[in-house]
């Protein structure tokens, strides 16, 4: 298998001096293209910090971070922003849609922001993705008028908009009822299977984790299993 991303000896320390807290303590991890992995571990183990670093939203204090052959530690903010837009999708626990926009406008945001306008091909892909998420009838609904499960499906569609190689999901079902959670996970599994998109899903839920082919356990700032 080809390594999609690799991090080595990641250290992340928040604060300085006596108040310094080391959240990641030399964590190393490799994700191959097409994987669907669950990130498990107790609260405070460093799962969210790891996802944030892998998503290029934060830089580690030390260590190596390479994705698609690019050294992301050396990249500046502008380069990381462009890289993130092109290659990484995010699904957050609280969907985090833009409230003043419709479902379709939310989905096509990553493409529109890259191209500087909403193009017809982007709209077409956005519609396709929403239809795939079972939201064909909701494309022009304001985000605030959607149910929790629908919002999370819109968030998944948005994460897939630019056909990223990696989607990072932080507790994507943590705020959903069991039925909605399973619907979202089935969609994620289907996309992983059909399009080969790599998913790394942080979760506390063993049932959700069991739907992933690989389980990565983080404890005390390191991969423990």
């Amino acid at each position: 298998m080809t390594a999609l991303l690799q991090v080595c000896d990641l250290v992340k320390t928040f604060g300085t001096g006596e108040a310094a807290t080391r959240v990641l303590r030399g964590l190393s991890l490799r994700l191959d293209a097409g994987e669907m992995a669950a990130l498990l571990g107790p609260s405070g183990s460093g799962k969210s910090t790891l996802l944030t670093i892998l998503g290029t939203l934060m830089k580690p204090t030390s260590g190596q971070h390479v994705m698609l052959g690019q050294d992301l530690i050396a990249a500046d903010d502008r380069a990381l922003t462009e890289f993130r837009n092109a290659h990484i999708g995010f699904v957050f626990q609280f969907h985090n849609l833009l409230p003043d926009f419709t479902a379709l406008e939310n989905v096509i945001f990553p493409t529109a922001v890259r191209e500087g306008r909403e193009t017809a091909p982007a709209r077409a892909r956005g519609r396709d993705l929403l239809a795939r998420m079972g939201l064909a009838e909701r494309i022009h609904f304001p985000a605030t008028n959607l149910s929790g499960g629908q919002k999370q499906r819109v968030a998944v569609a948005r994460a897939l908009m630019n056909s990223p190689e990696l989607v990072l999901a932080d507790e994507p079902t943590g705020n959903l009822d069991r039925v909605s959670a399973m619907q979202v996970m089935e969609l994620i599994a289907e996309i992983n299977r059909e399009e080969g998109t790599t998913f790394l899903i942080s979760t506390h839920d063993d049932k959700i984790a069991s739907l992933c082919r690989r389980q990565i356990v983080v404890g005390d700032g390191m991969v423990t299993g």
Binding site: R78, T81, D100, F109, V113
Partner: protein, 401 residues
């Protein structure tokens, strides 16, 4: 950046009440700006028209000859001829210069004149007057004599004289009555009162007599030339430049009205500066209002900014969204304020019809374009701080909020 414009517009329309209040606040500021511009500009116009509107804007006066001296070969002064006190100096080649002066850009009218002093006599009554001889047809070239006529006409011809109301009353004169005018040269003419004017200016109404240029030639024994040329300009503010130009063209000593009007100019300048202060305060209010509203908006939208950054929006994109909001608020408020200002100024009479006792608001001096431009620039500047603050939002922290 079209997309950033869409997002900016969406943010503004998403909070309609807040945006409406903000735009209204900006519009009020612009309204004050325009109202002050029209008032200060109109007031200056009114003061100028009342003080210098009826005088010559550029005057060319004949320079009296230097007193003659007779000096002995040893260098002693043998004879000194005193400068004539009554003899009027002459611009002997005035006729040559007139077409040239009339062709100078900005010159509205030219009036060659013979001026001097004299005594009006009617029966036993005698009044000292200042006599101005003007060419028939140019009676209203400088002073709007026709406009000030209360009786008769301003038409001057051989044997005719036009007097002010006060002077006519002092001499108990009515139209078509005869009177004698004796000039400082000792020449007496029998004239008929053909018109009475009233300017409201005592110096004019009580001591100035207008006769035709030919009558003045006889009275002041000046068969050729004139004693002064008065020039009226379309723009009295261009007097200094036009005087220089005429001086360069003719070599004559052309003097603008601003010479000797320092106090008036200082008063107008002080008034204009007061206007600048008030307009600056209005603009500062706009800037503070826009900046504070956008800072609040930035704070409220921190999670959304974080999401945008996470989805690949660069710092420049975020800055553009908020600066565009500022520009749109400035543009909408500017246009609305300018429109309100224009509507509010419409009922006021035009500057030509300013009357004492009313607010001299000049709708043409509202500075509408300037007000809108400065407001948009001000709003853009006001939005830079909030925009930079938004661009610095840490997506991780913001999304976690």
């Amino acid at each position: 950046m079209l997309y950033a414009l869409k997002i900016a517009a969406r943010y503004l329309t998403a909070s309609k009440a807040q945006t409406a209040l903000l735009v209204l606040g900006v519009a009020v500021g612009v309204f004050i700006f325009i109202f002050m511009s029209a008032l200060i500009g109109g007031l200056a116009q009114f003061i100028l028209s009342r003080t210098v509107g009826d005088i010559s804007h550029v005057t060319i006066e004949a320079e009296p000859d230097d007193p003659a001296l007779l000096i002995s070969p040893a260098g002693h002064v043998l004879l000194v001829a005193e400068r004539g006190r009554t003899r009027t100096a002459s611009l002997s080649e005035a006729a040559t210069w007139l077409p040239l002066i009339e062709a100078v850009p900005g010159v509205k009218a030219v009036s060659p004149q013979i001026t001097g002093a004299g005594f009006l006599t009617r029966g036993a009554q005698v009044e000292q007057v200042s006599v101005t001889g003007v060419e028939p047809g140019r009676e209203s070239a400088i002073l709007d004599l026709e406009g000030y006529m209360v009786e008769g006409r301003a038409r001057l011809g051989a044997g005719l004289i036009v007097l002010g109301r006060e002077l006519a009353d002092d001499l108990d004169l009515s139209l078509n009555q005869p009177l004698r005018l004796q000039s400082s040269e000792g020449v007496t003419a029998l004239l008929t009162l053909s018109g009475i004017y009233e300017t409201g200016n005592g110096a004019l109404d009580g001591a100035r007599a207008f006769v035709s240029l030919s009558t003045a030639r006889t009275l002041f024994a000046m068969p050729q030339g004139v004693s002064q040329i008065e020039i009226k300009l379309f723009d009295l503010n261009a007097a200094d430049a036009t005087a220089l130009r005429i001086r360069g063209l003719t070599g004559l000593d052309a003097v603008p009205w601003t010479d000797g009007a320092e106090q008036l100019m200082e008063a107008l300048s002080a008034q204009a500066q007061t206007g600048y202060f008030l307009k600056t305060f209005a603009l500062i209010t706009i800037v503070i209002g826009v900046a504070s509203a956008l800072l609040l908006s930035t704070y409220r939208r921190r999670p959304e900014i974080g999401i945008m950054r996470a989805m690949g929006a660069g710092r420049g994109f975020v800055v553009f969204v908020f600066v565009t909001q500022g520009a749109l608020i400035g543009l909408m408020g500017g246009i609305m304020g300018a429109g309100l200002g224009y509507l509010a100024l419409l009922p006021f009479p035009p500057r030509e019809a300013f009357k004492p006792g009313t607010l001299p608001m000049d709708i043409t001096q509202g500075s509408y374009g300037l007000a809108i431009t400065l407001t948009v620039i001000g709003a853009i500047l006001a939005s830079i701080l909030p925009a930079r603050s938004a661009a610095r939002v840490d997506p991780v922290t913001a999304i976690g909020q």
